[in-house]
């Protein structure tokens, strides 16, 4: 078709001709000076018809992936991955893509508001008054009565408040997120500390392993650093000239989206994870010859096989596989959310030592610390949150500031956060959405959306390099919101004294510069700069700064084998007949429920959209006489919820599972009054590391006689059956 003029080109030429004609013949001034008003006032540097791209950091979770946002005439159009960012190398997840539905969400908090508790709406106030409220709250209370509760993103606000705590004596900021609760981050770092003498986030080099043994880890969904782990998985799976296709074994009672990719899915009985790991360790040690290390010696594989409901031959076959290839073993998900979750984590890390993979390609490391970070920092465990709530109940906290987290929804109901708020004199939310916590606040002083604001995020795990991921505004703020850092700096200035001297910055950008430009003197940086201005410009242009040095740590676990792990089953709370597995929705995460396109994404395993469901084995459903879409009441010792049934073929008959992410009573039109929150079923039981034993509950199920059609993508006929005769 080289000489042919395509239809499209022809139309273009024709169009050009028409335009020329118009100019030659001359039109009236009105048509010559047509001005098209953009949706917003366009910045001067934007050219009509040209897109502008800005690098920033995704704030949908704490991972810190680099993104590049396409903007067009002052509007954000599309999120893409930042191809140069060492963590995600140009990739994005569904939640990152849908961040624009947060930015342009119709239910954002548009102005600072003063309100009464329990109301979602209130009276708009101006920012001067709002800042005075914050200043008065700082000034009129004792510093140790002032507390900040933050989400896991963004780190620059955390650093600002840590500075404030250090110099003005307010409580150090407490961070929490439901994702980190379900990831059992405290357990992982405690296990590393116990075995290797070094607290930190373990990093598993899936990419270079031959075999992966995953004990409940949902590393292809939301776990720790899903994009990085997914890239590793792709490399692991691909056969090349030099390596075979990786082989994956997943141990879990309910097949997760990660487990669905496994070559072997082993449905062990919940609570026996530690036993299974130790038994495999013992069998492997026997196959390899030599004495069985003490840590594995206390179990009897035959007994474990019956306790875990797995044939002994299967354990032997898995041990054989383990002993004869380069394996990495990963602990995660419900396996850590047991009463003995720490024992599970320690046993799995010990398996890696047994495999001889610690600090080797395809094995286990401790993640690199991020730049300007001196020691590993993790969010609060559920037990630490319980202590925090206790202080609230006792009236020790007079002012509570909340930013980036929705504790009323994300914490288990049993912890009593909402009730404890009544003993807190003043609650000030910086929430950008009218979430459950904002409803319970006295003031909502909305921060900018992540795409409208400055900041940085430390990358905790997922890459060999120390990475500080940078954030900058990609669009000007759409509403009358103000950066929380700016509000705090201004309020501290008004409060005077120690507050003012703790935050001696003109604004947020100066604070950022103060924190970031010290990196200029570091060697092997991803870019170099001659002065602060040049450094900040490059920091924004590249979407962060990283050190081109492999800084992951190869720990030494020489004494680990002599540890004693008690070979016991986990304890379960409650009287019900079913083990209960709550899991984070892979598409919604902890805070995605208000983004309509995330609601309409089918769940990877069930294809359900827009609601919560309970997964029940077909055999169990038959015994209970329940059908798909039938609403059942799920009752635990801590509470009860009603959810429709999804008959799920890949779950143990003695186990039921419910996704976390829905069940909001506020949080905007797409989230409110939709589905149910499985956190309402969770009692306050913790593992030895202080993480919630969220998978350590037993529940019972009652029929309700109601039905609710569950919208799902797997049948093109829809859920209403073939009888579509009625008009809808």
């Amino acid at each position: 078709m080289s000489e042919q003029v395509s239809r499209r080109d022809f139309l273009k030429l024709a169009g050009l001709g028409a335009a020329t004609t118009a100019v030659l013949t001359g039109c009236g001034p009105a048509s010559r000076y047509v001005t098209r008003e953009p949706y917003q006032q366009m910045p001067e540097y934007n050219l009509v018809g040209q897109s502008t791209y800005y690098a920033t950091t995704c704030r949908e979770c704490a991972v810190g992936c680099g993104i590049v946002v396409r903007t067009y005439q002052g509007r954000a159009i599309k999120v893409e991955g930042n191809a140069n960012h060492p963590l995600n190398l140009g990739k994005t997840c569904a939640r990152g893509q849908a961040t624009l539905h947060g930015l342009y969400n119709p239910d954002r908090v548009t102005d600072p508001i003063k309100k009464s508790r329990g109301d979602s709406a209130g009276e708009n106030i101006n920012w001067d008054d709002a800042i005075q409220v914050v200043a008065d709250a700082l000034k009129n209370n004792q510093p140790n009565e002032i507390a900040f509760l933050l989400g896991t993103s963004s780190d620059h606000l955390f650093d600002l408040l840590t500075d404030l705590a250090n110099s003005a004596g307010v409580n150090a900021p407490v961070r929490f997120g439901a994702l980190s609760m379900f990831e059992s981050r405290a357990t992982l770092s405690k296990a590393a500390e116990n075995l290797f003498g070094q607290a930190g986030m373990p990093w598993f080099d899936v990419a270079n392993a031959e075999t992966v043994f995953s004990f409940g880890a949902n590393f292809l969904e939301t776990w720790l650093s899903p994009l990085s782990y997914t890239r590793g998985f792709a490399n692991f799976r691909k056969a090349t000239e030099t390596k075979l296709r990786g082989r994956m074994v997943q141990f879990e009672a309910r097949m997760s989206a990660t487990g669905a990719k496994a070559d072997e899915w082993v449905a062990i009985r919940p609570g026996t994870e530690a036993l299974v790991v130790l038994a495999i360790g013992k069998l492997v040690a026997e196959i390899k010859g030599g004495s069985v290390p003490r840590i594995f010696s206390s179990v009897d594989p035959l007994e474990v096989a019956s306790q875990a409901d797995v044939p002994l031959e299967a354990l032997q076959h898995l041990a054989e596989l383990f002993a004869t290839s380069n394996v990495v073993a990963i602990p995660g998900g419900p396996a850590l959310g047991q009463s003995n979750g720490l024992a599970v984590a320690e046993a799995v890390l010990a398996l890696n030592i047994l495999a001889g993979n610690v600090g080797k390609a395809g094995g286990m490391y401790i993640s690199a610390l991020a730049p300007n970070q001196s020691e590993y920092h993790r969010p609060a465990s559920a037990q630490e949150m319980q202590a925090f709530v206790e202080r609230m109940k006792n009236g020790e906290i007079k002012v509570l500031f909340v930013h980036g987290v929705n504790p009323v929804f994300e914490l288990p109901n049993a912890i009593g956060f909402k009730e404890a708020l009544s003993n807190v004199g003043q609650v000030i939310s910086f929430g950008i959405f009218p979430d459950e916590t904002a409803v319970e606040a006295d003031y909502v002083l909305p921060d900018h959306h992540g795409l409208e604001g400055w900041g940085y995020q430390r990358v905790t795990t997922g890459t060999d390099l120390p990475v500080l991921s940078g954030a900058q505004p990609v669009v000007s703020p759409y509403y009358n919101t103000r950066s929380t850092v700016d509000v705090l700096i201004e309020a501290a200035r008004l409060a005077g004294g120690a507050f003012a001297s703790a935050l001696p910055f003109a604004d947020e950008v100066e604070f950022l510069e103060n924190k970031v430009t010290s990196l200029m003197s570091e060697s092997s940086g991803s870019f170099s700069a001659i002065d602060n201005v040049a450094f900040m410009a490059s920091f924004q242009q590249y979407g962060g700064w990283w050190k081109n040095v492999d800084a992951k740590v190869s720990p030494s676990g020489s004494t680990a084998f002599s540890r004693n792990i008690s070979a016991e089953q986990a304890q379960f709370a409650g009287e019900g007949e079913f083990f209960f597995v709550p899991f984070v929705s892979p598409t919604l995460g902890e805070a995605g429920a208000n983004k309509p396109w995330l609601q309409e994404l089918p769940d990877p395993t069930t294809t359900v959209m827009w609601t919560t469901w309970i997964e029940i084995n077909p055999e169990t459903a038959h015994e209970l006489h329940v059908e798909n879409d039938e609403v059942v009441k799920v009752i635990s010792e801590a509470g009860e919820i009603e959810v429709p049934v999804y008959i799920y073929p890949a779950i143990r008959p003695d186990t039921v599972a419910i996704p976390f992410g829905q069940g909001h009573t506020a949080y905007g039109r797409y989230a409110q009054n939709r589905g149910a929150n499985p956190a309402d079923l969770l009692g306050l039981h913790f593992n030895e590391a202080g993480d919630l034993a969220f998978a350590g509950m037993k529940v019972r199920i009652e029929k309700t006689g109601k039905t609710k059609p569950v919208s799902r993508n797997e049948s093109r006929m829809g859920v209403y059956g073939e009888d579509l005769g009625e008009e809808h």
Binding site: Y104, E600, R652
Partner: protein
């Protein structure tokens, strides 16, 4: 009995140089079903969300969906490898001849199946005739309350009620790259741009590129591995331009 595959329609058509210009390779072995492609496609192409009830009726507008099937029964249950399914950009597309309004036509320049929204009168014959069930129909004017429309991609038409739509291989991106290449007096280079789904895909399971030349990304993936993959329902003679692989066939 004569079956469709006995007719060897595909061989007849293949001989007639219906090779296609753009194509895709999808490695189902590394697809994790994470839905990043689905979200990316929706954001790039101004696809409306339809809400809980309409999606329950099978009216969700996903241009790409991830199919998964079950094999066996508990405990010997296995989920088949995830299968991203979108318009296969058939060389001989069953949707095209049935459109009375010539809204579903074949582009000679791009060798893609076009959907011309302002010609479409909503007979839905094309969706009826598509063996891949990848066409979606705007049953309503789906509401996108302000300020959500700020996010619209200006390069893509916003469709309204009564119009059929489907995956376009991100033709707006193809055109942008072609225009740039033309202004620089060259042909579009392989890997110069990609579709929204392939760009987002965290495991790089989707690869998009030229298939009308040798030594391109897609060509090499199809021809240099141990497995050459397969095309879906090829026996119908649709000449799809998407190749599905389950790994590269090596052990």
């Amino acid at each position: 009995m004569t079956t469709l595959s006995d007719l060897k329609i595909s061989e007849v058509k293949l001989a007639a140089e219906e090779g296609g210009k753009w194509g895709m390779v999808i490695d189902q072995d590394i697809c994790t079903g994470c839905q990043a492609c689905v979200a990316a496609c929706a954001m790039e192409n101004n696809i409306p969300f339809v809400g809980e009830e309409d999606s329950g009726y099978g009216r969700a507008m996903h241009w790409i969906r991830i199919e998964r099937f079950w094999e066996g029964e508990y405990p010997e249950i296995k989920m088949t490898n995830q299968q991203p399914m979108m318009c296969q950009q058939c060389g001989s597309a069953p949707c095209e001849p049935v459109c009375p309004a010539f809204a579903t036509v074949h582009s000679q320049a791009e060798e893609l199946n076009l959907q011309v929204y302002n010609r479409c009168v909503g007979t839905r014959y094309c969706a009826n005739n598509c063996p891949y069930q990848v066409r979606t129909f705007n049953w309503r004017d789906y509401e996108r309350p302000e300020p959500l429309p700020n996010q619209f991609n200006p390069d893509v038409t916003v469709r309204r009620r009564g119009v059929m739509e489907k995956c376009t291989f991100c033709i707006q991106r193809i055109h942008k790259a072609q225009d740039k290449a033309k202004s620089e007096g060259r042909d579009v280079m392989d890997g110069e741009f990609t579709t929204a789904c392939a760009q987002a895909c965290p495991s790089n399971a989707i690869t998009f590129g030229r298939i009308d030349k040798e030594d391109t990304l897609v060509y090499n993936m199809i021809h240099h591995g141990h497995s050459h993959g397969k095309k879906h329902l090829e026996e119908l003679g649709t000449l799809p331009n998407i190749v599905y692989m389950n790994g590269n066939g090596a052990a």
